[in-house]
């Protein structure tokens, strides 16, 4: 039976090309793998290889012909005489047309609506009479990890200096003593490598906590966080999960210069497939760390070195787990909303106190999770106060602050009595000199100033 040989495409976008050269003549015997012809476009040349065996019976398009449309029959081949029973064998591909019929027309737009988010649950009620213990943030983080390690054998910690040195910032203090070197692993200084090993271990069924000494160094490993960890569940059609926590201090520390002072919140929060958490106080640090470790999804957990040593109350309850994706109202108010996260929350609270002295009642919202963002909490507060300021220790451009501004424009426009303002760091690499560093970073007074501005209070 005859087999049609059709003009192939070098790429899905190619529509036509030049039949540069025939390497076989009519009557030639052809075996699979033989190069029959050369096809050219303005970009490249491709060899047209035989898939079937037989005899080249007729050449339909002469060599040197330009603008041959993809799918045009360029030659006919006859099968081997002894293969008469091939007629019963399906030969769909050689006979297939390259016409749109075989390539389903692209749907103009997905017909399905994006599913509504599940809606974050509220923080669990803390039973009346619960006692609280003042705990430093670094200890709260450690306690969260230790509790989950006791609960689940698959959880382990790896990173630079996490074991014998007890953590560069002492966040993993005591873990080696309790869990041993199998579960508290000192790595060499090799971020890309150990982020990949941690990610692979998560794919293999473990629950790694990968500590970056700071997130500045995670830039060497960002490929694994994004390409390997965040995208795999989607690319595998839900088959391969990656339950891992990447954690460490993020944002500016003190006088460490530009390369060690950056907020990566907006970077990671822009990536679908990641959960991004950035808590402020000890209770949230512990409760969200436990939730992050239990999550089936990859989590980027952004801490802050300057906050590690601050102490806050943590409820003395057995299993203090907080919901991911839920913001928290840190201070209720009615005149203006200040949205912030991480170290910015402390400054926002300070600003709110100052504003109270001037008769302005500010509401402070701690986002806690940057992705997925608790939009409803922001919009609800905006509907109440009609004025909003975002305070973020980080650059202004393409920031969480700009995201909140976009949200208020798109979904809260009717509630706005003033433009949303952002209070961010200066748009420069962080300088070393003490005075310049201070000038570059956000502070409470600039938040106060912005809040007053949106209240038209000056």
């Amino acid at each position: 039976m005859g087999i049609e040989l059709k003009m192939p495409a070098l790429s899905p976008t190619m529509e036509q090309g030049t039949l540069a050269k025939w390497l076989k003549a009519e009557g030639d015997t052809i075996e699979p793998g033989d190069i029959i012809a050369e096809i050219e476009t303005d970009k490249a040349t491709m060899e047209f290889e035989a898939i079937d065996e037989g005899v080249l019976s007729k050449i339909m398009i002469a060599e040197g012909t330009e603008d041959v449309a993809v799918g045009t029959v360029i030659a006919m081949m006859s099968g081997e005489g002894d293969d008469a029973d091939d007629a019963s064998t399906p030969e769909p591909a050689p006979a297939a047309t390259a016409e749109p019929a075989s390539t389903p027309a692209p749907a103009p737009k997905p017909a399905a609506q994006k599913p509504a988010p599940a809606g974050p649950t509220h923080d669990p009620e803390i039973p009346e009479g619960t006692s609280f213990t003042s705990t430093a943030v670094r200890e709260a983080l450690r306690d969260g990890m230790a509790e989950e390690m006791r609960r689940d054998e698959r959880v382990f910690v790896m990173g630079e200096e996490v074991a014998e040195y007890q953590g560069a910032y002492k966040v993993t203090q005591g873990l080696l003593d309790e869990f041993g070197p199998k579960r508290v692993i000192d790595t060499p200084i090799t971020e890309y490598g150990f982020a990949g090993i941690g990610t692979g271990a998560a794919m293999g069924g473990l629950r790694p906590i990968v500590e970056f000494m700071t997130f500045n160094f995670a830039m060497q490993a960002i490929d694994h966080i994004i390409n390997s960890a965040a995208k795999t569940n989607y690319m595998s059609g839900g088959q391969m999960r990656c339950p891992i926590v990447f954690r460490g201090p993020n944002g500016a520390a003190s006088r460490v210069g530009a390369q060690h002072s950056q907020n990566y919140g907006p970077w990671y929060a822009s990536v679908p497939g990641l959960i991004v958490i950035a808590p402020y106080d000890s209770s949230d640090a512990k409760g969200l760390m436990k939730a992050a470790i239990r999550s089936e999804d990859p989590v980027v957990f952004l801490e802050n070195e300057l906050v590690y040593g601050r102490s806050f109350d943590v409820p003395d309850i057995d299993d203090h787990v907080l919901p991911i994706g839920k913001a928290r109202i840190m201070r209720e108010g009615s005149d203006v909303t200040i949205v912030s996260y991480s170290i910015g929350v402390g400054l926002a609270l300070e600003a709110a106190e100052e504003l109270a002295g001037e008769g302005i009642d500010a509401e402070v919202i701690d986002l806690r999770t940057l992705r997925p963002l608790d939009k409803q909490a922001v919009l609800t507060s905006l509907a109440k106060t009609n004025r909003l300021v975002v305070a973020e220790e980080g650059w202004p451009t393409c920031s969480i602050a700009s995201e909140i501004q976009a949200l208020c424009m798109e979904e809260g426009f009717d509630d706005l009595d003033a433009p949303v303002l952002r209070v961010c760091n200066e748009d420069v690499p962080l300088p070393y000199a003490a005075n310049l560093e201070e000038l570059a970073l956000i502070d409470a007074s600039s938040i106060v100033e912005a809040a007053k501005k949106v209240c038209y209070a000056d």
């Binding site: 060899e47 799918g71 297939a96 994006k114 790595t187 890309y192 692979g200 271990a201 473990l206 595998s236």
Partner: protein, 374 residues
């Protein structure tokens, strides 16, 4: 009918400048006198029994598996030409003996495999249904990743096949993690991590070598040296083209294997896997092989001569080589032709399935981004 080239003894790669085998340098030193014995001990062991003593049934199975990969890839190339497969599509034609030789030696219940984007052959080597692989290539709902991964991103956790990764070299560190999980769980498994001669120049490969050796992880690193890192030949891209030596600084023993001979690859796999299973840490195996096609479908491979490719096809083809052995063992041309015919039918059916399966439902756009709801 197929040619019957005389199979020469020459290895796939011209080794004029590197004729010494790994064991030669200190082959005469007794282990006790040689602190670096470990680094070449496996090559020595391998040299003693360089071809796997396969039963006739095993040989026939290897032949069928390699031929399935060959025919599948030819068909994939054809579907690409017809516009049914999009994007990047990297074919495994010429390299079949590597995946079959190695994966036939795995313990399927325990061991894991990870590779880069040239992954169709490694999946077929597991016996995964060609239909769901081809349907993934055409981006259909029935594809193994629901059509959302494509040629480069395919996985089968059921088979402990962990992809299918599109970033050159990333699979090496991820493989280190799979090996860490084997060790952590004490499940007796090992990880087989493939990468190419191109990936061999990525920094994270060496970060992983260091930790794998330091932590004694159960992993076999396999460099599939197909002579070209995309369009750049190994000698133009690598200061040291004897890739098996690149573990030396990390005290990882190396092995140099003719990747065009499935029985040699299998024999090497036996030696390497035994070493790893005995808890002696990682192995670095270099399989010299050759890809007949371009780096991807859009690469016309103008950086090499047609004669070079033809020489490989005529004298080193892994399938023709084994065919010769089978015929010497009593199989007839007709027997083998019947096998080919059966495989062509399977592949044609896979292509048909892949072409006629529906595309994913629009609602699939939003699924599998996260596992949980928040």
């Amino acid at each position: 009918m197929a040619k019957q080239p005389q199979k020469s003894k020459a290895p796939a790669k011209s080794r004029a400048a590197k004729s010494k085998s790994a064991g030669d340098a200190s082959a005469n030193a007794a282990p006790s006198d040689d602190p670096d014995f470990i680094l070449h001990s496996l090559q020595q062991e391998f040299e003693e029994q360089k071809r796997f003593n396969a039963s006739p049934e095993q040989m026939l199975e290897f032949y069928e598996q390699m031929l399935l990969i060959r025919r599948f890839e030819e068909k994939a190339g054809q579907l690409y030409g017809l516009g049914l497969i999009g994007g990047f599509c990297h074919l495994y034609i010429g390299q079949e003996a590597v995946a079959i030789g190695l994966q036939s030696a795995l313990d399927g219940d325990k061991d894991s495999v990870i590779t880069g984007y040239r992954d169709h052959g490694h999946m077929l080597a597991y016996g995964i249904d060609p239909k769901v692989i081809m349907a993934e290539l055409t981006g259909r709902e029935a594809g193994i990743s629901k059509g959302k991964g494509g040629s480069m991103h395919m996985f089968s956790t059921e088979h402990k096949f962990y992809g299918g990764h599109g970033i050159v070299g990333a699979q090496v560190a991820l493989g280190g993690g799979l090996a860490l999980a084997h060790k952590y769980n004490e499940d007796g498994g090992l990880c087989l991590a493939y990468f190419g001669d191109g990936a061999a120049n990525q920094g994270q490969v060496y970060e992983t070598f260091n930790m794998a050796s330091l932590w004694n992880l159960p992993i076999v690193f396999v460099v599939e040296d197909n002579q070209y890192a995309m369009g750049t030949s190994t000698k133009r891209s690598s200061a040291e083209t004897r890739f098996y030596r690149r573990g030396t600084s990390f005290r990882i023993p190396g092995m140099e294997v003719n990747g065009m001979d499935v029985l040699e690859v299998r024999a090497a796999a036996e030696v390497a896997f035994k070493h790893v299973r005995e808890g002696k840490g990682p192995v670095l195996m270099e399989c010299n092989t050759y890809r007949y096609r371009g780096h991807s479908m859009s690469d016309p491979a103008k950086y090499r001569t047609r004669e070079e490719v033809q020489e490989q096809r005529d004298f080193h083809d892994p399938i023709e080589g084994l065919k010769k052995t089978l015929i010497e063992g009593g199989k007839t041309e007709e027997d083998l032709k019947a096998i080919d015919k059966g495989i062509r039918k399977v592949v044609a059916e896979a292509a048909d399935f892949a072409e006629n399966s529906p595309e994913p439902a629009p609602s699939e756009l939003y699924t599998d981004v996260l596992v949980e709801s928040y």
